[in-house]
């Protein structure tokens, strides 16, 4: 168990100890080595990095889709393996993932995409399901697009639907891949605002504060919102302590610097 978990006695949400992580698309490509990272309940992390460093793969490893080739990974204190056994599924469902671009199922409508995890895992009536889907789509301001297909809406909106789908089973933690990537200031503001509400306790999530991890290629929009920061570069994860008070120049330097220390 990590030092932080030992001191507090609280089970970490995500725990990586001396982990070596590979790429999801190319198992021979290492994206990070000697990763020691602990996400505690209630944390609000932003993991930064330039394009191509492997932020999406890092997030997939955080979610347990991609297990480390070396080292330890635990989710809610439990060792995770590949497979779909009931106990494993129960642990996995305590965490939701919002992929870059949403990764919605293209043959289903927006409402069907959001309903899918509930239909699969819960025995809800049609009325309950409809009410919950409406609540979730309303939370992401997309109720009017319920019957549209993913291909007919923008990438940003697809990712919002991805957020609604990830919130469907009221997970304790949410991992978001590049929610602000390529967005205009209005949409960026929308995402920051909803993440703040999720961190405080969103009504659609039962009012319980969610543990959040987001990836980004710029820390600046997150200052004053996220509470923990880390940067992925040179195949290492570097934890940053003073992002809130750092200058913009220093933050940019953290992202692009070629020196690790």
């Amino acid at each position: 168990m990590s030092e932080q978990a030992e001191v507090t006695g609280v089970t970490p949400t995500i725990e990586m100890i001396d982990a070596t992580l590979a790429s999801l698309t190319d198992a021979t490509r290492v994206i990070a080595e000697e990763v020691n990272w602990t996400v505690m309940p209630g944390d609000y992390w932003v993991v930064g990095g330039l394009h191509g460093v492997g932020k999406s793969d890092f997030l997939a490893a955080g979610a347990g889709i991609l297990l480390p080739t070396r080292g330890t990974y635990r989710l809610f204190g439990k060792t995770i393996e590949y497979g779909f056994e009931q106990e494993l599924i129960e642990t996995r469902l305590r965490l939701g993932v919002v992929f870059d671009g949403g990764r919605l199922l293209n043959h289903l409508t927006i409402a069907e995409n959001v309903a899918l995890p509930m239909q699969y895992h819960l025995a809800c009536s049609h009325d309950e399901l409809t009410a919950r889907v409406s609540e979730l789509l309303e939370a992401v301001d997309l109720l009017n697009l319920a019957n549209a297909f993913p291909a007919s809406i923008s990438r940003n909106r697809q990712q919002r639907v991805g957020l609604a789908r990830a919130m469907a089973l009221r997970p304790e933690a949410l991992l978001l891949d590049g929610p602000l990537t390529g967005l205009d200031p209005t949409d960026s503001h929308w995402w920051i605002e909803i993440m703040d509400r999720l961190a405080q306790g969103h009504p659609a999530m039962g009012g319980r504060p969610a543990t959040l991890v987001a990836t980004a290629h710029d820390f600046r929009p997150w200052r004053g919102h996220a509470r923990q920061f880390a940067v992925l570069r040179q195949k290492h994860l570097r934890l940053l302590r003073h992002v809130g008070t750092d200058t913009e120049e220093h933050l940019m330097r953290e992202m692009v610097s070629e020196d690790f220390d």
């Binding site: 979610a63 779909f84 599924i89 199922l105 995890p117």
Partner: protein
């Protein structure tokens, strides 16, 4: 090794001759056995999920299975009926001219039963389902894989084999079975109509009696087993090529071509196995 290389012009492709034909054939055989091994493993995993998750998430799986039955079966019915009429014409047209030369038109029903019920019916139906629904499977699943939808299912705690492969196995198994019955019935009826139009002296009663005499109980058992296995094979091989490994979008078309070729080989091998059963029975 694709077996082809680009010429200097870049416009033409020439076949490269293998250095040793023994090596070439050996490599092909090893590759074929490797493919069979991988397909067998995927089939076993899929059957395992079908059994272990039977009845799980019925509200999701049943509608998907029904839509697969519609896609692989119902929507192909007009095409199958058209082929049935054509098949009746082709077989009766050729057989009548042959049998009337030797004065053996009373074997018309026997020939129809042997050709349509035992061999052509199931195989032709399987090929139609493969070309219309099987190829769509590879493209859909390959695209879903390339776009990362499979990882999205995994994080939702949904087994992609349960959600994507099992309904296709059920749908295609039932579709090939049902369509084969329609194809056989259509071909037998159209066969008689064509025989009637060619003034063959055969009453409907005699024709049915000939058919009844030619078809044994083992035909029904083998027909059911064979068609269901053909359908499941189409589903398993096409799903394997769409899902089993990480695909890039540009690889989807090649995966489709491989899937079609391998499914045809698997169906023909199964057919050969059932011929052995006929010989033993």
């Amino acid at each position: 090794m694709s077996g082809v290389e680009e010429t200097d012009t870049g416009f033409f492709w020439t076949t490269r001759l293998p250095r040793s034909y023994v090596t070439f054939v050996g490599r092909r055989i090893v590759r074929f056995l490797g493919a069979l091994h991988a397909l067998g493993a995927f089939a076993l995993i899929s059957f395992g999920v079908l059994i272990s998750k039977f009845g799980v998430a019925r509200s999701v799986i049943y509608p998907v299975a029904l839509s697969q039955i519609a896609r692989s079966g119902l929507l192909l019915l007009p095409m199958i009926l058209f082929l049935a009429i054509a098949l009746g014409l082709v077989i009766i047209g050729q057989t009548v001219s042959l049998l009337s030369r030797v004065g053996a038109t009373e074997f018309l029903g026997t020939v129809m039963a042997a050709v349509v019920v035992r061999e052509l019916g199931p195989l032709l139906t399987a090929l139609i389902v493969l070309s219309r629904a099987g190829t769509a499977n590879v493209v859909e699943l390959g695209t879903a894989r390339a776009l990362g939808e499979i990882e999205a299912l995994e994080v939702m705690g949904i087994d992609p084999i349960h959600y994507l492969v099992v309904p296709r196995m059920i749908g295609m198994g039932l579709a090939v079975f049902a369509l084969t019955i329609y194809l056989i019935l259509g071909a037998l009826i159209s066969g008689y109509v064509w025989a009637f139009l060619q003034d063959v002296p055969l009453t409907p009663g005699d024709y049915v009696r000939q058919l009844a005499a030619a078809v044994r109980w083992v035909d029904f058992v083998v027909l059911g087993l064979k068609t269901f296995l053909f359908g499941i094979s189409i589903a398993v091989v096409t799903c394997y090529h769409g899902l089993a490994r990480m695909l890039r979008l540009e690889e989807v078309s090649r995966a489709t071509v491989h899937a079609v070729a391998q499914t045809v080989v698997v169906c023909v091998l199964l057919d050969a196995l059932f011929i052995l059963i006929y010989l033993v029975a």
